[in-house]
Amino acid sequence: MGSITLKKVSKSFGDVEVIPPLDLEINDGEFVVFVGPSGCGKSTLLRLIAGLEDLTSGAIEIDGSDATDATPAKRGLAMVFQSYALYPHMSVRKNINFPLKMAGMDPAEANKRIDAAAKVLNLTDYLDRRPGQLSGGQRQRVAIGRAIVREPSAFLFDEPLSNLDAALRVNMRLEICDLHKTLATTMIYVTHDQVEAMTMADKIVVLHDGYIEQVGSPLELYESPVNKFVAGFIGSPKMNFVSGASAKKRDADSIGIRPEHLTVSADAGEWEGIVGVSEHLGSDTFLHVKLSDGSMINVRASGELKAAYGQKIFLSPQEDKVHRFDAQGLTI
């Protein structure tokens, strides 16, 4: 249970085609992350799977049976919304109980499940509170609790962490990963944050203008992006793109090199540049280097490197880590 197949799924709002026909296979138990810049159609795709939007064409299969016209409730999926969408006038217990009550479950069994979920999510002390009395992270957990008591065949997350502060986000990220390992249920997770995608996913789906650019494991996408968009989107800081003579030399229209694959030298190298702002993080140092032709290059150097503003340095790419792209932006 928990496999989802999209066949030639497309969605238009009026004349605007948001999602051109696309195929996607999601296996049982996988943690799939839809990632892309805002407006790329990733949330729409999730809502199509949830059944909150109607397909314009194509078909959705869940566990091998056609679910294209099934109502959201019939699909056996649970969703965690960006705004958590908790019911404000109900206590935490009633919130979590709501899907069970709608399913007509026996109250004793329902209470057992609620208590179990509350224990997993550290909500036991808050069961009688209202959502308004909880912090952001606790509300997030209630929303997850409401999803897990139903024991759905798959979980859908719509940017669930974007309303949390940075520290809490890292914690919740780990908790969701943990939850995925314990429940071993399919999870589909939408985010615009590629760090979340890289850290959580078994499989990343990179979307751009409704098209699937690439599907693969985090490291596959990092090591062998199929085109310039994926190369630039995955990885932080962003990959540097260089065209001109150094690209010509490598038989490409342009080349890309990640900031961590550049060698810094004080006296010799392929490119010569002036150090602009340098960010010292302790473990790493990020240098913003202005090359002689005016383009900017980000460098990730070791934390010990001391570089002064305006200092002249030389950079050379590690030859085996250079990505080459043709005029259409596809990887050669």
Partner: protein
């Protein structure tokens, strides 16, 4: 407003408004109380001195008193139920996207802009007239005998007219409340397997609680004192004499200001009893 200085400045600046409002309320109240203890018959000798509690006992002892209280409460209750039930339905319908939304919304609100006297006249002559009224035509078309609305079903007719006037107000307030409901909550409930009725019962209705409270409180204040609709249609006959209409009759038709003022004091007491009941029932919705 943390400091001593800003607090006293605030008091000083609020003073004119507070004093004006207090005067606005206190002067008529004191005059009503004063006249209610006087024997004051403008066309039969004027102010004839103190009357003690005579006016009070006469007003409450009149055979018209309790029926008028009942009529008042029936009208208030009937109109509240109709406007809130229909108001919720209309608000939910108007919230749906549709063609010509703006115009439809304006049309729905339109009855509220019609003066009570005018709308009562329109209803009386154009709809409810047993000979020329629209309803009479409909009844005749189906071969039925036209209903003489204002005499045979006088109370229902007045409740209908007043409901028609107040429905836009209820709809408008409830519509804004419906629109403020987070759509993700409804979607979450949909995913949780809630049918439309359960979504309405568990999500929409609790969300509307505060708006309903406001509609109930405001409408009650105005409905307790409706007058024009009764004056224009039945003239207080056929069991439609409300407390405020009874007071009007005592003061102007019987030319007995003292007796009417005593009735006014009873009306204040009735309004307060209703208000206390309402606050008990729905007031807690205004907290938090």
């Amino acid at each position: 407003m943390a400091t001593q200085q800003s607090r006293s400045a605030a008091r000083l600046m609020m003073a004119p408004a507070v004093i004006l409002l207090l005067g606005w309320m206190l002067v008529p109240l004191t005059m009503t109380l004063w006249f209610s203890f006087r024997k004051y018959l403008p066309l039969r000798g004027g102010d004839l001195g103190w009357a003690g509690f005579d006016n009070y006992t006469r007003f409450i002892g009149s055979s018209a008193f309790w029926p008028s209280v009942q009529a008042t409460l029936v009208i208030v209750g009937g109109v509240l139920i109709i406007t809130i039930v229909l108001g919720i339905i209309l608000a939910l319908l108007l919230d749906q996207p549709m063609w010509g939304q703006g115009i439809v919304r304006i049309l729905v609100i339109a009855p509220f802009f019609v003066m009570p006297t005018v709308s009562a006249l329109v209803w009386k002559n154009m709809f409810m007239d047993p000979v020329n009224g629209l309803f009479a035509y409909v009844w005749k078309f189906f071969g039925a005998t036209p209903v003489e609305w204002l005499s045979q079903a006088s109370m229902q007719s007045i409740v209908m007219i007043v409901s028609w006037q107040w429905l836009p107000f209820a709809t408008l307030i409830l519509l804004t409340a419906v629109q403020s409901l987070d759509s993700e909550q409804l979607e979450a409930a949909e995913m949780d397997g809630a049918s439309f009725m359960s979504r309405f019962w568990y999500l929409i209705l609790p969300h509307l609680a505060r708006a309903i409270t406001i509609v109930v409180l405001i409408q009650t204040i105005f409905l307790l004192s409706i007058f024009a609709e009764i004056f224009v249609t039945t003239g207080g006959a056929f069991g439609t004499k409300t407390l405020s209409y009874l007071i009007f009759q005592r003061v102007l038709e019987s030319q007995n200001v003292g007796l009417g003022s005593a009735g006014g004091v009873y009306a204040i007491i009735l309004a307060n009893i209703v208000a206390i009941f309402l606050m008990r029932i729905v007031g807690k919705n205004l907290d938090a």
